[in-house]
Amino acid sequence: MTAPTAHTVEQRVLHGVGVGRRGIVGPVAQVQPAPHVPADAPLLVDGVPADAQTTRKVVDRAFTDVADGLRDQSSRATGTVKDVLAATAQMADDKALRSQVLAKIAAGEPVVAAVDGVVQMFATMFEQAGGYLAERVTDLRSVRDRVVARALGLPAPGVPELHRPSVVVARDLAPADTAALDLANVLAIVTELGGPTGHTAIIAGQLGLPCVVRVGGATALADGTEVAVDAAAGTVTTDPDAAQRADLDRRAGVEQALTADTAPGGTADGRPVQLLANIGTAEDAERVAVGAVEGVGLFRTEVLFLERATAPDEEDQAAVYARTLKALGGRKVVVRTLDAGADKPLAFATQPDEENPALGVRGYRLVRTHPELLETQLAALGRAQSQAEATPWVMAPMIATAAEARAFAARARAHGIAKVGVMIEVPAAALRAGEILAEVDFVSLGTNDLAQYAMATDRLRGELADLLDPWQPAVLDLVDATARAGVQAHKPVGVCGESASDPVLALVLVGLGVTSLSMSAGAVPAVRYALRHHTAAQCHTMAAAALAAESAVAARQAVVDLLVPDVRETLGV
């Protein structure tokens, strides 16, 4: 980070949707989009179009340079990123790709047309093969973009190699782009597209990185420009002044202070509220286990199944579950069974041609078409339970009726699992939570999907984010109905949607009667802090105020007005 200097540059403030509350100052590193060059763009050497022989040499060299560059990046990476980069390097090095491109150039085709023609031939073959290969077309196209850029002397596309801590700015980040990020040098992520519950936002939340999405004009920022990224305010400010830097520094100090409290979560008057982490892999479990969390409130097992041609077998799954249970060493672990479908399609389970996948065969409903998936998963969990000598909780996603809850509980108990619950994310289930709780030991509210279904708003439509707001009083009504049923049945009601990570909303959830909150591990300290400074009665008053409001904005404002002033100041709300 450079020291603030006197300058006359005019500040610009770009607005977007913040993810979390963190802020930081750093230099912009733009993710380069693919070069848009006409198919017949000439290859210039010293400003004049090169002859055929020189062109062939330059293109030949471009393939070599791109392959070397990727291999070099791969050698310095680890894990999945290393493998992805190595495989992409081998594509760039492919002799058939190169020789066919060079043959076309020798025959007089322009460079871009030659590369595009050969890449398209392979892409078509990959797409026809389908499945795993069809997904590799993205890698093939990224090789194309890199070679074209290199040959024509344009900036290399994709995530730049970061040589210093930087704010990564992109139009949008594909999962592969995110995987290629050198996290040690990423200060924050800013995108022009995407929504607050999209892939980038969730990854940023898990990593505790400040993130602002839907920032218009972000890709026009020059590389190296100093910007202040403020997720709490949802802003990106160029050339921040000393006061803005001091404010972000102060908040970073607060963040550190928040992390100092590691006692179990609870209200000021001692009502316990379990604070849990959301995870996707056994590695995540090992990472969160060292922190001050009381366990895992949501283990998203679909990560095990993604990008595979066939489902992992019982033994493979049991090993992952046992490793997770061992990592948490006896703390609570809630495993959610496979939640495939809609925005998380799986090659071996997704229905082709569903016109409305969010309302189709997804989550628990897969039991209708692929009952073996659930059976294998429950058997693996039963096996992991004896291997790890720990007792997992298990829950099914997308339950709509008490009959479904009963059927799921019977299957899970048959595999020796003692604590069985279901997700409440379908409004029908929230309205009939009492009947559902009669069948199971606990429920967990998935507020992202609950809001999507209650508000009839696609989670992936960033421009409808206001409707998807978990502060919408109608969504809070459904939480209220579920929490009341839990209190009456004396059974735990958790929340494992992103709403649990908002410290202000967390107070409302507790006031409604929610007994545990599960979130990205990075969000726990602020939630713990907010709870610690309010009594159960204060939380209840806030919940009543939110329910009485006529809009999401009014609900949040009513609760903010009731916050203890110190907390308002510290959290910057």
Binding site: T80, L97, L133, H199, V303, L306, A309
Partner: protein
């Protein structure tokens, strides 16, 4: 022309890591080799893009062919490689995605 037919043993088929190891071995042999699915056109076995685009699943036969000096030895080695589960030591890495 020397030919060999072998059943692909890798669990994921001739994709990903197995395809990478196979094409690297072809390149290292220094002999031009082709690979074909039953009844299909032979393609350059040294090209990962061609080999992957065949989309050979686990348990299917492929035919390798080569000409000239060293062809026999090279094919013996490549057949042995394809008859091994190249994906056995470490399964395909799981992505870090979530939602």
């Amino acid at each position: 022309m020397v030919q060999r037919t072998v059943v692909v043993a890798s669990r994921v088929g001739l994709h990903a890591r197995p395809a990478m190891l196979f094409t690297q071995a072809v390149a290292a042999s220094g002999v031009p080799v082709t690979i074909a699915r039953p009844g299909g056109d032979p393609v350059d076995a040294g090209s990962i893009l061609f080999v992957m685009s065949l989309g050979v699943p686990h348990g299917e036969e492929v035919t390798l062919a080569a000409d000239g000096e060293g062809a026999d030895a090279a094919l013996d080695e490549l057949v042995a490689l394809l008859a091994t589960d190249l994906d056995a030591e470490d399964a395909p890495a799981s992505p870090g995605g979530a939602s």
